[in-house]
Symmetry: C2
Subunit: 373 residues, 2 copies
């Protein structure tokens, strides 16, 4: 397979693998008896959201209000914005709701909840609020036994805004590399968010949504009693980071960067690619379990892995590939194409405004993406 019509570096998406990954996660949600609300932070593409909804997803999750706006414009109305709301962004959320979006917003701050409640009372906007819970990720969120949990619920419940429920994310699941450890984290994630929901209900509040998820925990949770929905995003295309943790196989990675060999530095023992730090991102999340991978796993143009060949270092527009031996120069001449499986799909894809979709072995459609803020 030679992609002569594509200028490099550019992003390739294998549609059959994408569809298989979508089915795998939907089956996991079905098995666990919860709804699936995929996180579009990875794909940022309406065409991907269509496939997700068609496969059974109940709605979508986004990481920016620009994504929310883009997906709403493309006909998706049931949207959770799963990054902490701030007062300065409330007007944009209100505009989306006024236009018909069923938007859910989130905070872990009583101060922000107070602003939301006041704004709802003054302007009549029915903000649907999720309270963020920290289940051990140590990113955003309240401890499930915190006083602020009830304080926020009371503030919202007594206003024109709507208390929607609770939400958590076990980002710590990216830090382990075996299924038993993932299962344990999935149970911590469930316990934290269910504990928060239980406390709210005991205090008399209605809790409709009990939401959790990360790709590893969503795939390997054994039980989600008390949970209503799963969120996850990177599973749509996977990456070497996920592969290094045993969450997927290399063959399931649906995303790659098509690049071109631009030089051989034989004195330095390197092949140079036109995919560097900007084209691949400088994410090194696979280092913990597969440090040899560097900035990406090299594949041939047909997608088959080339063992032992990695993007070992990068500068802005150069990927440096340490050759295994001298014969690599003849195998990969200047001008030839190579593909790179990304370390972290979300970070890599963000450098591109579209996917080149491969279906039945040929490049067909271009799918646009929404980047930035």
């Amino acid at each position: 397979m030679i992609f002569t019509e594509l200028s490099t570096p550019t992003l390739l998406l294998e549609k059959e693998k994408l569809i298989a990954n979508i089915s795998r996660m939907q089956a996991s949600a079905d098995r666990l008896g919860v709804q699936l609300r995929p996180h579009l932070k990875t794909m940022k593409a309406a065409r991907a959201a269509e496939l997700l909804i068609a496969s059974g997803a109940s709605g979508i999750t986004v990481s920016t209000l620009k994504e929310a706006d883009y997906f709403f414009e493309h006909g998706f109305t049931d949207i959770t914005y799963a990054v902490g709301m701030v007062p300065a962004k409330l007007a944009e959320a209100a505009r989306l709701i006024a236009r018909g979006a069923d938007l859910k917003i989130m905070t872990d701050s009583p101060e922000v909840a107070q602003v939301i409640a006041t704004d709802a009372n003054q302007n009549g906007t029915v903000y649907k609020l999720l309270i963020e819970i920290d289940c051990g990720d140590n990113r955003g969120g309240l401890q499930p036994d915190s006083d602020e949990l009830l304080q926020i619920a009371a503030l919202i419940d007594s206003s024109s805004a709507h208390l929607q429920g609770v939400l958590t994310h076990a980002g710590q699941s990216y830090g382990v590399d075996n299924i038993a450890a993932i299962e344990e984290i999935a149970e911590q994630e469930r316990e934290a968010v269910v504990q928060a929901a239980t406390r709210l209900r005991a205090a008399g509040f209605t809790v409709e949504t009990v939401s959790l998820g990360s790709t590893p925990t969503a795939l390997y949770a054994r039980d989600l009693s008390g949970v209503t929905e799963l969120r996850a995003g990177v599973y749509t295309v996977f990456d070497i980071d996920q592969q290094s943790r045993g969450v997927c196989t290399t063959e399931e990675v649906a995303l790659s960067v098509l690049s071109c060999v631009i030089g051989h530095n034989k004195a330095a023992g390197k092949i140079l690619l036109d995919a560097g730090g900007l084209a691949l991102s400088k994410d090194r999340s696979a280092d913990k379990f597969r440090p040899e991978v560097g900035y990406g796993q090299i594949c041939s143009p047909d997608g088959s892995i080339i063992p032992g060949l990695y993007v070992t270092s990068v500068s802005q527009e150069h990927g440096h590939v340490r050759v295994r031996d001298e014969s690599d120069y003849a195998l990969f001449p200047v001008g030839s194409q190579l593909r790179v499986l990304p370390v972290h799909a979300c970070m890599t894809a963000a450098a591109y405004d579209h996917f080149n979709v491969i279906e039945n072995g040929v490049v067909g459609e271009k799918w646009d993406r929404v980047n930035g803020w």
Copy 2:
């Protein structure tokens, strides 16, 4: 200074600092008696190129053909594309030349030189070719004493293409943190490219351009005898990476990311920002000399450094800031704005399609940027 009109995260550019940085480098080129061809890979903005040319730059350098096209469309004709040419991109270069661009292209590959020579003979395009030299960076380039140097020169010189000269880049200058070491690398850079030019001239070839540069060596070279032009890019705005190496002061950094506090995770000892891995990039180049900086140095909205406050970790849309003590929560409430000085300006800026330009203390113009490929 509160940027209430700007949605976060977004990119701020301090115009007075930009102009001072441009003047500093132009003065260095003038002192060394060479022309300055700034690298627009950092700014990727026509408005910045205008300031550079007005300050005395002889032309521009770009890192992608998309940049070349963008700057040509904005009236800049003298352009060096300083990443190795490949056969698949030659038609795009030919189109730019046909439209009137004075485009210089580069290779270190005899095979590519042969393709360029043949294409020039067949299509009449007068490609101007620079031969890339490796001065110790171990990225692209031929050793100055290599046989291929004369081989490429002969291939081009005997064709309808034009042998323009030689070019090198001392990327290793980013690996040291004292001026004496930078001076030494600058001399290695000069020696390598002058040696290559001397060999070519001794063999009867005309060498018009002898080009070198990196921000550290361009600022601190003591002598550039035999060199015709300097290239550098990141000096326009500088960053913490350059500051960590002693190349600039923190006060000279002209670029920052405006962000908003989206949460306090007191149990984890963290302030959360809405500027994460995508908004800041995952570049960690400052680690070698300032590991405490993480993903960026925090400043107040007016740009003054907040000592000891850094973006200590990131996820896609979250910047995690380890608080110094409990009083930081009151100092930086949820909803307040903070600025982040980037570790690596080129990588950070690439996530944004425009700069918000600050002049006389207020946000005024928006300058568009050209990203991608």
